[in-house]
């Protein structure tokens, strides 16, 4: 369970994020939507203890992330290409992550089996280093890397951007399956309202660092979110 208490991040005089209280229970697939600069990546960076909170804290199963490192055993993430090791082949990258999560080579090979069609023959045994793969393929490597060892909590920043349509569909299916069968908690941020509403059972909307909406997904959610953004654009035009 993730508990966010009174967290804020201030750069200079600019408050980029402020959330009073947010609790994400185990097994939830949590969608985070908002425009650029809404604070999505900031929130994930705080959760992963990559930046220091100005106030407040984030707790995972009772451990404050900026105080001890127990959370590292439960969480894996793919935020951007700084989570990739360019000079490794994809296989070496997967084995490396597997090793850190207590998986041996055979386990990892086994696990990768299910992604054969996901990789479309362009990643495993492709005789390329990660740095030489296309952006889309790098993304696939990063996402699959985050899944290795079936961690309890998986954080993905913009997982659908740059992915081809077939892979988007496969990824959505995987997220749904894992939340149902394995009780994995997914935290996903996206600009794409349709994808996010499809895979998330709860959606939080951030705007300029503030929590605007916190909704349990229903068939009407997509419409509600689209209306919000449409209205905010209209308001700007009027102003």
């Amino acid at each position: 369970m993730i508990s966010i208490q009174n967290i804020s991040k201030v750069y200079g005089t600019k408050k980029v994020l402020h959330i009073e209280n947010l609790v994400i229970p185990k097994g939830e697939s949590f969608g985070l939507v908002g425009n650029n600069g809404a604070g999505k990546t900031t929130l994930f960076s705080l959760l992963l203890d990559l930046i220091e909170p100005t106030t407040g804290f984030i707790e995972i199963d009772g451990n404050k992330v900026h105080e001890n490192e127990n959370w590292k055993k439960q969480v894996s993430a793919f935020i951007d290409d700084t989570f990739l090791i360019g000079y490794l082949t994809p296989e070496e990258y997967f084995y490396f992550l597997g090793e850190l999560r207590g998986q041996n080579k055979a386990n990892v090979d086994d696990f990768l089996q299910q992604f054969t069609d996901f990789f479309n023959g362009e990643i495993l045994n492709a005789k390329k280093y990660v740095r030489d793969l296309s952006k889309g393929n790098q993304k696939k490597v990063g996402i699959v890397g985050a899944l290795i060892g079936t961690p309890e909590i998986i954080v993905l920043d913009e997982p659908f951007a740059n992915l081809d349509p077939s892979t988007q569909i496969k990824l959505k299916k995987l997220i749904k399956d894992w939340t149902q069968n394995e009780q994995v908690t997914f935290l996903i941020s996206s600009h794409d309202l349709a994808h996010t509403t499809e895979v998330s059972n709860r959606i939080v909307l951030l705007d300029k660092g503030e929590l605007i909406k916190d909704i349990i997904t229903t068939p009407e959610t997509l419409k509600e979110l689209e209306d919000f953004f449409a209205h905010s654009v209209e308001r700007e035009i009027v102003l």
């Binding site: 203890d49 990559l50 590292k72 082949t89 070496e92 490396f96 850190l100 999560r101 492709a126």
Partner: protein, 488 residues
């Protein structure tokens, strides 16, 4: 249009992150450049007066005699180092600029490459000396200089035409190696032909036009070659190395540490920056030759050289831990990485580097037994103490490493310029130098070697303590390091 492109080039230069470094860094870079230019300018004086005073020979003849070897060396150097400046051209391809103009612009950029005009630093003073001091005919010397300069341009364009044709290049290298062997054993003297050919540039007026014409011809061919390959999937594409999954299996026995070690070995093999650090550390082996110069006869300074001879890899690699991992530092910081194991792997690699250096430096046995013992003692100290202290110094170094760039990796040592690293040189250098010199003065060389050995053992026993300190530094500096590493 060209003016616009040149303006962009200028912006690219001054906004280079390397250039934007702090003031101290700029000053150091300036001195470095001034130093190398000074060496280049000093060379013709050395050659000229060495020939005249020591060999009692004609300096121009001497130059011509060995120029053929320099020519081959120049070609080889260009082949390996001089890169086609096509990197920044991609965004222009779809703009309203004709291809012809872009190709010409590329050629123009090559013309002003240091590899070409840098030779003038040597040629101009040499010509000046020949005319003013040697009394050679001014007109003929000028023609000669133009001829030689044209030869360098010929090499320049030849290099473009040879691009990617390893076989031709290796054969040039092989032939030259054979000839220099034959020359050494006085079977065939290529230098006499070299002398005749290049001296004719001076001797007969008008001969200098031959290399000029050759250079222009090569330029035309190069133009066509570049024009033909001006596509993203041809000449503009950087060659991508074939990826190979590899693993030194026996390292797996060491668990996570073995995994890290495997990764570091891959890093050294596959990253340009790490590779050039490895090569640079080989050059440290020659540092001991300084012992022949003035000011290095005392045991104090000899141990100083010894530390560098055996510690080249340690300094080049160790000072940039964890910077080597800067491009994926957020990954490392969110994984369950056991930092002690991570450090042990880096340490093991450094120890291997020192051991190899100690073995290679046995060549200094040719200098003297005592000097080798000094180097050996320094090696022991490096093994026992400096291997960790360098890692500790690295923990304060927050300059990210761009793994795919060659040039930026140089001067990396200077980047880590901060007070803590300066203070750490006391245990790194001054302490062993002092202990060694003192013990040697009072008790002789063997106890001096032993004293450093003992210090090394003490250091080794404190290893875990030092690792703990480094891990603590990593943790307390975590956020600022993450922030600094973003700015590659």
């Amino acid at each position: 249009m060209y003016w616009r492109l040149i303006q962009l080039e200028f912006k690219n230069f001054i906004r280079n992150p390397q250039f934007g470094a702090n003031l101290g860094m700029k000053i150091l870079m300036f001195f470095g450049m001034a130093y190398f230019s000074a060496i280049f300018v000093a060379l013709p004086f050395l050659l000229y007066f060495f020939a005249k005073k020591k060999l009692l020979a004609d300096p121009l003849l001497l130059f011509c005699k060995y120029f053929i070897y320099y020519w081959a060396f120049d070609l080889l150097l260009r082949y390996f180092i001089q890169q086609m400046p096509t990197q920044n051209i991609k965004p222009f391809l779809t703009l309203g600029i004709t291809k012809k103009k872009l190709v010409k612009y590329t050629l123009l950029k090559i013309l002003v490459n240091f590899f070409n005009w840098g030779n003038l630093l040597f040629l101009l003073p040499f010509a000046g000396l020949l005319i003013l001091d040697g009394g050679f005919s001014a007109v003929q010397v000028i023609m000669f200089t133009i001829g030689v300069f044209a030869i360098f341009y010929f090499n320049n364009f030849l290099n473009i035409l040879l691009n990617g044709k390893n076989l031709i290049l290796y054969s040039v290298f092989g032939v030259m190696a054979i000839f220099s062997g034959l020359e050494y054993f006085k079977i065939i003297a290529l230098s006499t032909y070299s002398e005749k050919i290049f001296y004719s540039l001076y001797q007969f007026p008008g001969v200098f036009l031959i290399p000029v014409v050759l250079a222009i011809l090569a330029a035309c061919f190069a133009y066509q070659e570049i024009y033909k390959n001006f596509y993203l999937d041809k000449g503009l594409e950087l060659k991508v190395a074939e990826g190979k999954t590899e693993n030194i299996a026996f390292l797996n026995r060491y668990g996570v540490m073995g995994t890290f070690l495997n990764n570091d070995i891959r890093l050294l093999k596959r990253s340009k920056a790490a590779k050039s650090a490895l090569i640079a550390s080989l050059f440290f082996l020659f540092y001991g030759l300084l012992t022949f110069t003035k000011g290095y006869e005392n045991s104090f300074m000899q141990l100083f050289t010894g530390i560098f001879v055996t510690g080249g890899f340690m300094l080049m690699f160790g000072q940039r831990v964890p910077s080597w991992d800067s491009s994926y530092y957020p990954l490392m910081m969110t994984q369950n990485v056991p930092y002690k194991k991570y450090l042990q792997a880096k340490w093991a690699l450094i120890v291997i580097g020192i051991l190899v250096s100690i073995i290679l430096s046995s060549a200094y046995l040719l200098v003297s037994w005592e000097f080798y013992l000094t180097v050996f003692a320094a090696g022991l100290y490096n093994l026992g103490v400096n291997a960790y202290i360098t890692l500790l110094a690295g923990a304060f170094n927050k300059k990210p490493v761009d793994l795919n760039s060659k040039s930026k990796s140089f001067g990396g040592g200077a980047n880590s310029f901060n007070m803590k690293t300066v203070l750490l040189t006391i245990p790194q250098l001054i302490l062993p130098m002092g202990v060694f010199a003192l013990v040697k003065y009072f008790f002789g060389i063997y106890p001096a070697v032993a004293s450093l050995g003992i210090l090394g053992i003490i250091g080794f026993l404190l290893r875990d303590k030092v690792f703990d300190i480094i891990v603590k530094v990593y943790k307390t500096e975590k956020y600022s390091t993450l922030d600094a590493f973003k700015k590659v």
